[in-house]
Amino acid sequence: MQIEKFSYDNKIVRNFGIATLVWGITGMTVGLLAAIQLFWPFMNFETQYTTFGRIRPIHTNGVIFAFVGNAIFMSVYYSMQRLLKARMYSDFLSKVHFWGWQSIIVASIITLAMGFTSSHEYAEMEWPIDIAVVVVWVIFGINMFGTIIKRRERHMYVAIWFYIATFVTVAVLYIVNSVQLPVSGWKSYYIYAGVQDALVQWWYGHNAVAFFLTTPFLGMMYYFLPKMANRPIYSYKLSILHFWSLIFIYIWAGPHHLLYTALPEWVQNLGVVFSIMLIAPSWGGMINGLLTLRGAWDKVRSEPMLKFMVVALTCYGMATFEGPMLALKQVNAIAHFTDWIVAHVHVGALGWNGFMVFGILYWLIPRIYNTTLYSKKLSSIHFWLGTLGILFYAIPLYWAAVVQGLMWKEFTPEGTLKYGNFLTTVLQILPMYMMRAVGGALYLSGVIIMAFNLVKTMKQGKLIANEYAEAMSLEPTIVKERGIHRRLERKPVLFMVLALIAILIGGMVEMMPTFMISSNVPTIASVKPYTPLEIQGRDIYIREGCMGCHTQMIRPFRSETARYGEYSKAGEYVYDYTYLWGSKRTGPDLHRIGQKYPNKWHYDHMLDPTITSPGSIMPAYPWLLTQDLDYASTPGKIRALTILGVPYTTDYADKSIEEARRQADLIVKDLEANQVKTDSDKEIIALIAYLQRLGTDIKVNADTK
């Protein structure tokens, strides 16, 4: 054994830190804009690039993958080097990782604004970006495992296991959820349809929360909280127990996003049971964190960064209690599709993720700049602005959700819906939407103050780019250690494989039967594939992000069937490449909108929703009336869908343009008869064709019976 001298790479940590600040402010600003558009639709400036449906994914991906993502990398690169007593495996890979990730973010913002989206929530980016994400993620993984392999510390601390689990699981989730068939440079179809697609998407979506917003943050907590409080974690054994239970259980809970939908019932129930069990490991982590601070509460009172950590842990506890509650079917029946879910995720995102990132930044930046924080006072102001911001954000939305959820379900004594006009229930909650925007603005202003404070801190110090360190070199072990987990903690690859197995079990048990057993998705004879024009209209619906406000899933409740019509069946979606069930009803469900209104109604409504629905907060889509439809892309799309299994006849693709034009001419003729002058080349015609088709296959069935 000999002492080796080496250095830690702080520059990469700093770079990820700056990226965290930049993208945090960007992503939150876009979120604020979206929040304002919900009561002042004109704030979308009536351009397609800033309309709600397109900026919503920019906001969600921006805060999750750009803000939180960079914060994770910053924290992992800092803590891993020190816990393993080694510099990152390769400076070059670190740089490629950093610049690769930033380029992906820029490319995502541009393409999402242009409407290139696959519509899978939290994975909207189109296939070229998906590939880039996987490549950069693998580079991160190589760099991480390289460092683990050349480490000078035999045993891996709990933070490292959380990082390893994060790495493997995110890789598996992202790849499975992104299997697409490209149609052109920026358009593709997922290979799954309908129910299966929904299951894959929420298996991914839920576990993005688990393995991007939770496990890395628990790892970060286990490193930075002891550092800040200067005492070890409360219980190391508890950390092991909650680590394994958490990663095992989390993966099963995805279907709780699809309760009362057309998903097979046993899958739904599996999701419910495992969601409830999830409280235990989640609270295990929270309690372990809070108890670490026992005896250090005087420090909490005087140190804003510890205050951030305490609120972060509290919000984690609240969100992970609320999650299982929302998974109970009775609660879900009321809360689902309302703003409750939006409030729920923001308690997690603003409280748990945001506050922990702020706490770490306040601790870390002065350290690597070998100085003290520029102003503790400002960080304290930031803390209170942020806390107020969360309260002003969440409470009005909970209120809005209860008010609107109850209004949707209220019947008159005569047995008709009391608020038959959906818009009435929207207008009722607009004041709450305004308060929410105030909350968001408060939170954002806190972040801007922090950025100022940290920039000043950097200016007054000097970056220790390569921090000197020394440690004993690691000799190969000769003696066999007692204790299974102890041995495991020095075998990173085996550890990764075990973690992988733990997370694969849940996914397989849920998905295999749904994919393999045909009885799980009963087919309906009258459900036919979309026509070429309807496919084009559907792709416009996807491009404009209509599913950000509209669902296509009528649940089997009296209040829903009375409002929207017959409830939705699994067999109705078999040709839906990608499913468009949506997750939030800012506007009414559209699954049975077909034939509800004349074509002219839709034409006027899309030109300006307030023509048909005074006071509507739906954005106007005037560009659909002037932009030309890309008819030439039709055969390619039909061919791709045929490959995926839609039963079009063999030469259908070749005559699909002709077919589309024929259908378009009919709609144009009908519009003309109603004093609307347009021509069949416009995009609006395709969208109308699609909307008029929605949900009608089953209506036909009912008529003929």
Partner: protein
């Protein structure tokens, strides 16, 4: 609430199977923890606190 879990027209086998699997998994982790030495756990939890010393504050350029 329990009716949700038991009334599944024969599909409860998936659920019971899944729960049993978790139980087995949980027991294995439990045994591992039970057999873990206390001083080892102590030593592991000290890890993040270890590397703080004066030397760390230096940039290699200044050496």
């Amino acid at each position: 609430m329990f009716k949700q879990i038991t009334n599944l027209n024969g599909d409860e086998r998936y659920l019971i199977f899944s729960l049993l699997m978790f139980l087995a998994f949980f027991i294995i982790v439990g045994i591992m923890l039970f057999r873990m030495k206390k001083d080892y756990a102590e030593q592991m939890s000290q890890m993040p606190l270890e590397e703080d010393n004066e030397i760390n504050k230096m940039d290699t350029e200044n050496l």
